[in-house]
Amino acid sequence: MSAETDSVLQEPALPLASALAPTAADRYRLLRWGLWAVFAVLLVVYPFLAVNVKPWLPIANFGLITAIGAIGLNVLLGYTGLASLGHAFFLGVGAYTAIYFGGAKNLGWSFLLWLPLAGIVAGIIGLGIGALTLRFRGFYLTVVTLGLAFIGGHIFLNWKDLSGGVNGTKVPVPTIGDFSWATKSTLGPFELTKDHKFYFLVLPILLLVVLFTRNLMRTRMGRAFQAVRDRESAAALLGVNVARTKIAAFVFSSVLGGICGALYASYLSYTNPDQWNLNFSIQFVAMIIIGGVASVSGSIIGAVLLAAVPQLIDVFADKLPFIQQGAGSGLTSGDFKEIIYAFFLGVFLLFEPSGIIGIYRRLKAGIVRRLNRSKA
């Protein structure tokens, strides 16, 4: 938890506590490890607990998959300060790369190839776009990425052999040898559905992404990202290669975007070009603003929350106000979802710009302060 940018809040507390009372610090460390262990067990057991209730497993799966993309966007927007509205385009690139290399009508390569390729191809395009947009800042960059996303959407729509045009197309399902992620299989006493299998596929990938991103932010490159965000000219003066740093952030974010898009489309098993539109990009921005800008755990929290909203709305559609019941007037559940996330986006921007993770950090700092005071 200590690699975040705002770690100032908790850093001084630990050395102080251990100097005063080593046993207290030990207890604190033990408690923390204990909590993590419980959390890890819960993560593994979760899909078996959630199996009988329809939305809970898809919520986890969509949440974990979009969390990969949200972390990618957070590296670009939160850590490096490059405000892009084109993130969904990179997800689309990942999805269509998967279809191109893995699809049965196309090359039909193995999952072990098409998933990394989705990241690589998106990364290469990110490299190009990063280099192209290098000279734009702030508002200009936002509009240029928006334009690139529109143009990309146009290409998706018109590359009919690949995308199927407006009708969309099937997306390959992960398969390794005889083991397919689309069919049911049994493991001892448990029956594994598609949802279970995806969960255990995505969870380790997300874990790797989290570890890698966390560590990256502690390296020279990660510090350079944040230096460029905080003051570009000062960073350049200190010897940071601003151009290379910005392009690296673009590449990193689009690689994660590509992997996320491939998994997302594959989980849905069907996609059409309209899916990767501006609204989807806005949703990703909403995830990181609600979760926490420049925070890896914040990205995950935001992604899971925004994944939960539509699923829960679908389940409780008949109990919620304003929603269209049958053919009457009112909102469709799709529109209701849009309102919910737009509303929360606004609320967080207005009242809690550091997101849920900001609330958590404040609470934690308050508790630590109180503990220290009671000891002194």
Binding site: L77, G147, L157, F322, L331, L349
Partner: protein, 301 residues
């Protein structure tokens, strides 16, 4: 040549609408806000006008006045309740909050008036007249007349009246403007009222026949968005010129690009005109990073 002139007239008419939209963007930009909700303002304005004229039988001009007042009120409310708390926040924060407003307004508009495509209630319908071989729509002519009137009024207001000068002073430096006694709340209120005016008029003409009114109208505002950068960010004249250019480009592209007879570049795909404005923007920005008429920003350390 006939085709070219025909497309040229249509392009100018669309360009006029884009000029209005771009002017709306720019005026708000001068008050320090990037308003991505402009599209939904157009949508709300056009729906109010359509509902009043068709369902309520109110004369067209009066419905427009009501629509303008409604949208202006919406903008002023938004400025008063949300944007006033947002000063000195990063640009992107304001972009996102207006995008959020855009979504909310769009969804509520369709929820209120339904998802069906509807006519916008203008009196011109599909009526046309002939000039030589060119067929001109009355709707296009009135679009141009309305736009030119509005633009002339706006520029007079902006250049010579007390409030216009106040707006320009605020755009240059709002603290200095406040220091010499210009009332910023008043300026912001005027700004959002102007936005309501141009958004509603733009929306109504954008939904004029043969085009129709439905929830996608707001996305057209995003197509006009490059105009404000093309003309140089923050320049009202630039925005109007940029809008005219983009309208022409879009209509000419829709006429000449494709797989039909006398058309070229079919490989660019169906519906290329919808992204043509952004292609133009990218090409221009690659050559001139601050737009056609923009000035380079000075970087302060």
């Amino acid at each position: 040549m006939t085709t070219f002139l025909q497309l040229g007239v249509q392009g100018l008419a669309l360009g006029c609408i884009y000029a209005l939209i771009a002017l709306g963007f720019t005026v708000v930009l001068l008050a320090g806000v990037i308003n991505f909700a402009q599209g939904s303002f157009m949508l709300v304005g056009a729906y109010i006008v359509s509902w009043l004229t068709i369902e309520r039988g109110v004369p067209f001009l009066i419905s427009i006045a009501v629509g303008v007042a409604g949208v202006a009120l919406l903008g002023i409310l938004f400025e008063y309740s949300v944007l006033r708390r947002m000063s000195a926040r990063p640009v992107f924060t304001i972009i996102m909050i207006t995008l959020g407003l855009d979504i909310i307004l769009r969804v509520f508009t369709v929820a209120l008036w339904g998802y069906d495509v509807r006519a916008n209630g203008d009196p011109f319908k599909l009526s046309t007249f002939q000039v030589g071989e060119i067929t001109i729509k009355w709707a296009d002519v009135w679009t141009m007349i309305a736009t030119l009137t509005l633009l002339a009024t706006f520029f007079f207001f902006f250049k010579y009246t007390k409030y216009g000068i106040g707006m320009r002073a605020t755009a240059t430096d709002h603290e200095a403007a406040a220091a010499v006694g210009i009332s910023l709340p008043q300026i912001y209120t005027i700004t959002w009222a102007i936005t309501g005016l141009v958004a509603t008029v733009g929306g109504v003409f954008l939904a004029a026949s043969p085009r129709v009114l439905d929830s996608t109208l707001g996305f057209s505002a995003l197509r006009a968005f490059p105009a404000i950068i093309l003309g140089g960010l923050g320049s009202t004249v630039g925005a109007v010129l940029g809008g005219l250019i983009l309208g022409l480009v879009e209509v000419l592209v829709s006429g000449y690009v494709g797989n039909g007879p006398n058309q070229v570049f079919g490989f660019l795909g169906v519906g290329f005109h919808e992204v043509a404005t952004y292609v133009v923007l990218l090409i221009v920005l690659l050559v001139r990073p601050y737009g056609l008429f923009g000035k380079k920003e000075v970087e302060r350390i």
